[in-house]
Symmetry: C2
Subunit: 324 residues, 2 copies
């Protein structure tokens, strides 16, 4: 079968489209025919060696939609979460490292990770859903407790998770404030329902602009860390919540006073449990949410697709069409 395989560390250019043997199902597994896959920053980080426990060569990729047992399906990419809803087991892994992933015509996955594809989604839309969709669901609802009528700040809209968070917030009737360094992404976010959109590159005091626009927010969702996380803490109302699922810009220097005086709750989150994944699928189906898709590439174009993500040019998910 065809697959995009990483042979050595060194960035996306080290991915090779190769002809490799089809996987075989181990005990408790099913081999899925992959129709479409989607990129995550995790994939790029792995090509750069910025992930623990990298084993080479490996087929990367966590997200896919496809077919198994004659059904249209999507795959929950978190393997072995464990019994504790609060946190994954130390043995949990994500599809695509260390196990071979979805950038291939076939992938072997645990039976319980296979779910029916939501009927209202195309193959490409369904492939965009898993990792970003469940991370955003857990961030917004399980950790963040977002409610109708509340206001959520979503920093750095355009990335997959943040764009899902925007779609979810609008689906339940929450108000959404988004930031980005690119006006084009802010326009796209407004088209998806964002109530306030602020360019943090041209408005360095964007946290003051948030307050001027909507007062304080009930919830902030951030994955940038650093200055972004620190500023997010200052715009949350007393008793409010902040959720972080990343730290791409580095360490954050934070003031303690607003945290304890305003009785804030801060939740770190990564991925989601099997329960979160099932709840996310129900939610997406109920609200007929369509993932924002940035572009669809052919599998053979994976290096260009990865480069676009690395350059932070995308709005929503970048999808790979897998040759059938």
């Amino acid at each position: 079968m065809q697959a995009a395989r990483l042979r050595e560390i060194g960035g996306p250019s080290k991915l090779r489209i190769e002809d490799v043997p089809e996987p075989e199902a181990a005990e408790g597994q099913t081999v899925v025919r992959v129709r479409a896959a989607a990129l995550n920053h995790r994939d790029a980080f792995i090509t750069q060696g910025l992930y623990p426990n990298i084993v080479l060569p490996r087929i990367l990729g966590s997200d896919c939609s496809g077919e198994a047992g004659g059904r249209d399906i999507v795959v929950d990419p978190t393997i072995g979460w464990g019994a504790d809803e609060r946190v994954w087991s130390p043995d949990a892994t994500i599809l695509g490292m260390p196990a071979d992933g979805t950038f291939a015509q076939f992938v072997a996955v645990p039976n319980q990770n296979i779910h029916a594809k939501p009927d209202h989604l195309s193959v490409e839309e369904a492939a965009a859903l898993p990792l970003g969709g469940v991370t955003a669901y857990r961030a917004a609802f399980v950790c963040g407790g977002l409610q109708a009528g509340e206001t959520v700040l979503i920093t750095g809209v355009g990335g997959g998770v943040q764009t899902f968070a925007l779609l979810y917030a609008k689906a339940i009737g929450a108000h959404a404030v988004v930031t980005s360094a690119r006006d084009g992404k802010l326009e796209r976010a407004k088209a998806l329902g964002a109530d306030v959109a602020i360019n943090y590159a041209t408005t360095p005091d964007w946290h003051k602009a948030v307050r001027a626009a909507v007062g304080a927010v009930d919830l902030a969702i951030d994955s940038a860390g650093g200055d972004s996380f620190a500023k997010a803490l200052t715009v949350v109302k007393p008793g409010g919540r902040v959720v972080t699922y990343g730290g791409t810009t580095g360490d954050a220097t934070i003031k303690m006073f607003p945290i304890f005086w305003n009785q804030l709750s801060i939740f770190g989150t990564s991925m989601g449990s099997p329960g979160d994944f099932a709840a996310m699928l129900d939610f997406v189906s109920k609200h007929r949410i369509k993932p924002a898709i940035d572009r669809v590439y052919e599998l053979a174009e994976i290096e260009s697709a990865m480069q676009r993500m690395d350059d932070a040019l995308q709005f929503g998910k970048i999808v790979l069409r897998i040759p059938q």
Copy 2:
């Protein structure tokens, strides 16, 4: 009546023992005869002008035990918390600023803030309880969710709240790791049941020493902020909790990765709700917890008492005996 009144900003030396008129009960208030009062850092901060909305002259003091309506009582010092258990109302205040406080022979307080003194406590022990006791209760249980068998890290033991947290943890059968810059305080903490005691002044990598001693902890309680808070984040196990109720050493520079990867929850807290206060009294009575009292001073010695707190020499609460 005699009272310790602050006439001008400038530190504890600006407190004067004066003869002032007895307070009168406004609508919904009761005048309490104060038997004993206790110091909080808040009182020292106010003398230094480090608090919002300071009105002078004022009688300071948030904690007391005493007598009202022929009953032995303690006073909940949080006035007007409001209906939301998660956070106090913007109008909430603490006894002792802006309203006259407990460093006096009499104090007027809202009727609903008066509670029966736990039977097993002396007048001095009961005076030590309110603000530190409720802050620690909310930090350890309401926010921190501490359970029997879990391990809690308590940084900077010796302060009132942290010492209550230690007593509470041991009362329910949790394990406690404490830190301090003073060996004398560590010895006192061990005598109260601390399982592991680490001097953070002589062991700058105390967070590594915590891990070496007990592995990771379920909960960390910190009020120092800065480096202390940042290090506390690194010793909490996946899915664990960190509670902060202060930031005396300043801003904290934190790594985002352990927060989101380990799915930590961080809770800021200040004081406690009326429900927390009542629950704290029940808990203290049920477990017959005796507050750790550092020293008892006469009201006239308040400057020396404040100086001891300012020098961080105390272990537990510093109490003032009020002349009758």
